[in-house]
């Protein structure tokens, strides 16, 4: 996160009492969501703790750039996501599988139109223990994982996601669409494996 991004909004001048109040009552309540986001991004417990701690320390340091009454959770998520890209993604053990340009052109191609209807049924899903869902999510490429976390786990709106990720709303929508199809493909693979077991 460079300083420009945190300083683009008008600077506030909070008193120490106000800072303490914002930090404790607007920032800390999101700690579980923040930790979960960090964990799903890094897939490593130590890295996720460091990432969350770094994010909160940055949030405190730049607290004057936060406008009270705006969405603190989205503000924190954006700092975390930028910290992840700048500080963690490079050193991440996970190989960078996706060339960004390639991904964007893929979203815009006819391929998105291809209706993937995995042979997946509600009954099969309900038989799954939690691990399969979690593993399926973690198996997605980080860009796809991210939109599912933001939308389905955290309930962010498309416009909020666009701001957190610095991408247009149209890209949010197409990426979500693709991510959900990939997730269902993964789940349907697991369902098939379970079917073999039960047979």
């Amino acid at each position: 996160m460079d300083h420009m991004e945190l300083e683009e909004s008008p600077k506030q001048q909070y008193s120490d009492k106000e800072k303490e109040n914002i930090f404790n009552n607007e920032f800390m309540p999101h700690i579980n969501s923040m930790y979960n986001f960090a964990y799903r991004l890094t897939l490593d417990q130590d890295d996720s703790k460091d990432l969350v701690q770094d994010t909160y320390l940055k949030a405190y340091r730049f607290i004057d750039s936060f406008q009270q009454g705006t969405n603190a959770k989205a503000w924190l998520f954006r700092i975390l996501k930028n910290s992840f890209i700048n500080d963690y993604r490079k050193k991440s053990k996970e190989p960078s599988k996706v060339d960004y340009q390639e991904v964007e052109s893929y979203y815009n191609s006819e391929e998105v139109d291809r209706q993937i209807t995995p042979d997946l049924r509600v009954e099969a899903l309900k038989d799954m223990i939690g691990d399969e869902i979690s593993n399926a999510l973690n198996a997605l490429d980080v860009d796809f994982r991210t939109v599912i976390i933001l939308c389905d786990l955290e309930g962010f709106k498309y416009d909020e996601m666009a701001k957190i990720l610095d991408i247009p709303i149209g890209t949010v929508r197409s990426r979500l669409h693709r991510a959900r199809n990939l997730l269902k493909e993964k789940l349907s693979e697991y369902a098939k494996q379970m079917g073999y077991k039960n047979a």
Binding site: D16, K17, K19, E20, F23, M28, I31, N32, S33, M34, Y35, N36, Y39, R40, K49, V52, Q53, Y56, L57, Y60, D113, Q115, T117, L120, R121, V122, L125, K126, M128, G130, D131, I133, S134, L137, I148, I149, C151, D152, L153, G155, K157, Y158, R173, L176, H177, R180, L183, K184, L187
Partner: protein, 91 residues
């Protein structure tokens, strides 16, 4: 849920791609009340693939919520507080 009368219902959706997009808009809370009513009250009742997709999508979302969230470790919370709170007192 009413038991679908197979004879009156569409076994195949004519607008599958548009329907899937609408379905996601609705589940993401991004559809207008009109879009929502039209799709849920009219289309979904008559279209078997869309009806199935709707419930599949709902189930995936529920499972994600129940299985993919967690709690931050207490040591992390304590560590953040220990690093930040002295700043409030030091000035």
């Amino acid at each position: 849920m009413s038991n679908p009368d197979q004879n009156e219902k569409k076994q195949e959706c004519q607008n599958q791609r548009e329907c899937m997009e609408m379905l996601q808009l609705i589940l993401d809370g991004e559809a207008s009340p009109d879009q929502k009513e039209h799709f849920l009250m009219h289309h979904l009742e008559d279209c078997i693939p869309c009806y199935k997709n709707y419930h599949l999508e709902l189930t995936v979302r529920e499972l994600l919520k129940t299985n993919c969230t967690g709690q931050a470790p207490q040591e992390l919370i304590d560590s953040i507080k220990a690093k930040v709170i002295p700043n409030f007192l030091s000035r």
